[in-house]
Symmetry: C3
Subunit: 469 residues, 3 copies
């Protein structure tokens, strides 16, 4: 087991002594990673590596970028390429220096915690980056990265990962996943079907994705039935490649069931590019409904991430694109929005719908009550900004009393940063142990049951929740 520098569990507190005992029971339990954004090419190519320290810790990490941007650094200075620019040349040490000099910005944040623990757990570096040690850390990391000891495949095993699911566009040929299978390597890396680009009907790239879908499926998509059928074919292909789940992201939890005529009319408007805001919402609401219907039929677990206003700043989006820290949460109304979907499928256990929110006020108000009664609904772990010590604590406190532990699905690391996976699971496990210890100390659980529940929270709930065999 990898030991983190930041321990969270504080043995001066008697409750944490209990937490420690509970936590230790999962020391050797493997990691289940059912949702995340690791690039599968890391595993298809046996020679794949992580590049330089800037490419590893700064440039692709939107948590890091956003904090540096907030202090006035430009994306340019942080090594991010403008749209259309390929293979941009940058000076990795210069970027690393900015990062180290500003590392105190991450004091008290999960980003700081993950990075410090990643340095200690993966690279054996126990120093916090700062203005003085930047060069030394850079050289140590660079040397480690070049040593060959840190190949993704080796780390996959060292991290004790049982399964890692990636997230892949619906039109992705999954050639990296093919490559992994054909390579004979034993690591279990599975694709996840994400059709957002085909659902976001008003988006500039919608038509482009329809074209790609036509190519994938070798047929013309001229009407809504052929569109739906093509999506079904892609789901079937993903399933054949090992996928257990789909993933969907929308701004609101609105769902609706349109008549075939209405769906067709909106789809045609989308193809012509003259659909308005209200119509987009209807179309998207209907597509979510259709996706639930398909999940019920093909058994793929349906993940739904609701309430992020993506690319909030148009200037940044136009110049640099997505995933740069400019995604801002919205209030989410679930009770009315999801009702049409649940009226149709909510009682049917064949559907497994896992809900995610960035609006914590909906945990106890809407999500836990929904997950606590509808057989089809489970509640996903704290998402994104809430994947943090306090975010997890609030999640345990707000959700579990109402939904019950068994209507949740354990942890998602949800990360692009493969090397941070052990640190993220470690934090979840420690926070879960602290929460369970509190139940033990208040007399609500005995220690043996708390240890069983620790197994569930670290392993079983994710495995069962995502129907991972």
């Amino acid at each position: 087991m990898l030991k983190p520098k930041i321990n969270i569990i504080n043995l001066e507190n008697p409750q944490h002594i209990t937490a420690r005992k509970i936590f230790e029971t999962v020391n050797d339990v493997p990691l289940i990673c059912p949702h995340g954004h690791v690039n599968p090419s890391l595993f298809s190519d046996p020679e794949a590596g992580f590049g330089d320290p800037a490419a590893l810790f700064v440039i692709p990490d939107h948590y890091v970028l956003r904090m540096l941007i907030s202090q006035g650094y430009s994306l340019e200075a942080l090594g991010v390429s403008r749209k259309g620019v390929e293979n941009r040349v940058y000076d990795p040490y210069q970027i690393w220096e900015v990062f180290c000099k500003n590392f105190s910005l991450f004091d008290g944040t999960p980003t700081g915690l993950w990075i410090e623990n990643e340095l200690s757990m993966v690279f054996g570096i126990d120093e916090k980056p700062d203005v003085a040690n930047g060069r030394e850390l850079y050289d140590a990391l660079q040397e480690a990265l070049e040593s060959g000891a840190f190949s993704p495949r080796k780390l996959f095993e060292q991290f004790n990962i049982e399964v890692l699911c990636t997230t892949d566009a619906a039109v992705d040929p999954l050639s990296d996943h093919q490559g992994i299978r054909e390579s004979g390597w034993k690591g279990k890396v599975l694709p996840t079907f994400r059709p957002d680009a085909l659902v976001n009907i008003g988006h500039p790239s919608f038509l482009d994705h329809i074209r790609k879908l036509e190519e994938c499926c070798h047929k013309a998509i001229k009407d809504f039935p052929s569109f739906i059928q093509a999506i079904e074919e892609r789901r079937s292909y993903f399933k054949s490649m090992g996928a257990v789940a789909t993933d969907h992201a929308t701004m609101t939890a609105y769902t609706c069931r349109l008549s075939p005529e209405r769906a067709e009319a909106l789809f045609q408007k989308g193809l012509r590019g003259d659909i308005d805001q209200k119509e987009m919402q209807l179309f998207i609401g209907h597509m979510i409904f259709e996706m639930a219907r398909m999940s019920l039929e093909d058994g793929l677990v349906m993940q739904w991430h609701v309430g992020s206003y993506r690319n909030h700043n148009p200037a940044v989006f136009d110049a640099y694109g997505s995933d740069l820290g400019f995604d801002i949460p919205l209030q989410v109304e679930w009770t009315r929005g999801i009702k049409p979907l649940l009226d149709a499928f909510g009682l049917d256990e064949r559907l497994r719908l896992i809900l995610f929110t960035l609006d914590e006020s909906s945990y106890a108000r809407e999500l836990a009550p929904l997950a606590g009664v509808y057989p089809a609904v489970k509640l996903g772990p704290p998402w994104w900004f809430h994947d943090s010590p306090n975010g997890m604590r609030r999640y345990f406190e707000c959700v579990m009393e109402i939904a019950g532990i068994d209507n949740t699905v354990g942890f998602n690391d949800d990360t692009r940063a493969f090397l941070s996976i052990p640190a993220r699971h470690d934090l979840w496990r420690r926070m879960a142990a602290i929460w369970l210890a509190d139940l033990v100390h208040s007399g609500q659980l005995n220690i043996d049951i708390a240890k069983q529940r620790m197994q569930d929270l670290a392993y079983g709930l994710a495995k069962r929740g995502y129907r991972l065999a």
Copy 2:
């Protein structure tokens, strides 16, 4: 005093040692139960009993049902009768077995806590139900229930209940309450006036309730003034039967004052059955306004429970009816919604309006500020999903700093499950003691004042808040 199995107060923690001292001062203080759903027939009939263990612990408890439903059990399998089916035959042991086998679903939930404590406090059973002990527990409970030692009247005294308020439809003849009074039994059981069925103008059963109201009042209800007058007569009758309060439930906190002509027009539409959504909201908003006016005049305390979307799943509602776990909270906006009512009556202390929410985000944002200034407004205790250790903790932390203790009304057990009443009050008292101990340890209250406040929270606030003599 009845001792619970799950103690909550943890004596390893110095603050809890203080909490224990504070808590012990209310050991012998009787229970005030100003709002709940216990069936008064339990007390009117000296021979009344609780049936079998399934009828006691499973079939009528929507908290239990919802959790079992969430795992795919059908209401059928849990002994719930379909609409229109009377005296359904079921095998109580089979249902009990399902309950015990699945009892771990309630780990860390208040339902689990109440049931374990109910078993220990009422039946002296200290075992947690599980797959192995189901038969043994069933037999022990069955024997106890048949022994005659557990008659509702005896338990009422054993539980040290000073007063228990039921909730009764506006058209209820209150014959059980009559029976209790005439029986000579000394237990104080009072009715509460709940006219929701007469307010929900668009509901399928509205006309049916108007007919019942006509029967009660022995006169035709043809227009809005006669409708209002009939309601006033019923309030007066309830008051003569000991009622101290009314209770109202709506989806939103919308209020308005309609002109007599507009109210009449909407009422006529309701009678004809052609009222639309927007008009329903207006009518309901006006009725809440009218109810506040009546409360101000007749002195009945007005309880208002806002924000539950009842019967969220139409298939379950159509087949089985209400109160089966499919009630999902909504976001609630109070500041604008309640303004028309408060503009008219908010400064008048003759009105006592107690507000309840399922949207905890409104505690500190709207409800505590309203209760902290308007003489007519008090804030009810944490409701339903929030009647739990963490729910209470959040309530104390979010409400008390802003509203002040004296603008709250202590505890409601709000339960149908008579046997769970001591467990529920016990939890409230312990959580209150823990909160008070925190104020003592931070220097905000001295221990003597904390003990006085414990009396208030356990007894005085409820008694004064509900104008119980």
Copy 3:
């Protein structure tokens, strides 16, 4: 350093021992008071005093008034003058008696905590007011107030205030601030530009303020450009008088950029008094946009307080006016509302926009994510009802993990009550120390960094955040 009676830090708890060590490092650090409502005439007139105990503790304090009103006291009885009545005669001891008799209403509230600590820190009185000691306290306070030892200027120094910013109407001639400068007294008291009365276009007093603006600027305001130019002139005057910031309050976070023609048309409607609700919102949204543009140009820090429904009760407002406890928070939507402003200026560090909310559900959901990426945005401290032990705790827990400490601006006392300033800062510092100690005990910060962060939270963040030289 002044010692408070209520200590908050509880040395039985090992974490609080660490908190104490962290807290002590700022014992001698001066107070930065960048936002508040102290009357500058306290300092311009060397003979200024605080009147009698009722005038000091009751009549001007909306926190105290609201709690007493909630118990049925009339504003009349509390010494508040009706509109239009000047120099009302009241019996201060009678009011003081009501206050003392009811002081237990403030048990567990920040108002109670501030007042008890104000009595101990400023007057050396360690008794909690109650029905028995009212006379004695009154006499002690009266004697102290008459002694001359409590002049505002002396206390300013005793409190170790480095800078105190007042809040001043845009049309205020700032003669008190002139007086302070000319007096030769060294205390740094700065004005803040608050143009709300010129922005609230539909308000009855709008035209009156336009007239005043014309007088200030010695020119006619007939169109929108001359209106904007007059505002710019006033900002420039405030800046010349030492102002570092502006302050704006609106009900919603709506912003928009109107065409010059549309802005002109709405302004003319406002001058004619025939603007409707929707148009008001547009005008106000555009004015906030304009204010941001001006801030970017002149460098005044822009504070924006969003979401208070002012003067909720019309009867109280009509009879007595504003700031009497009838201001009730609203839900606030930021992500969409503020977008037009941030699209235009959010990436420009010349703008410093500090956001305040009364809707804590928006801390982690919207505000911290916005402050955590936009260079122009910082998050203000917990405001008003949330300026309390639990309010601060929630703020630290919800905001800091997401925004990072450096995107916040320390503390505002935001008070009219000059004598309460040390008590308020003391509470913030203690709560900050407790939060930091928690990070130390969980391993997230080492003690030296925690002490540096204590300096930031007590001093540096406010000083830098408000661009105080």
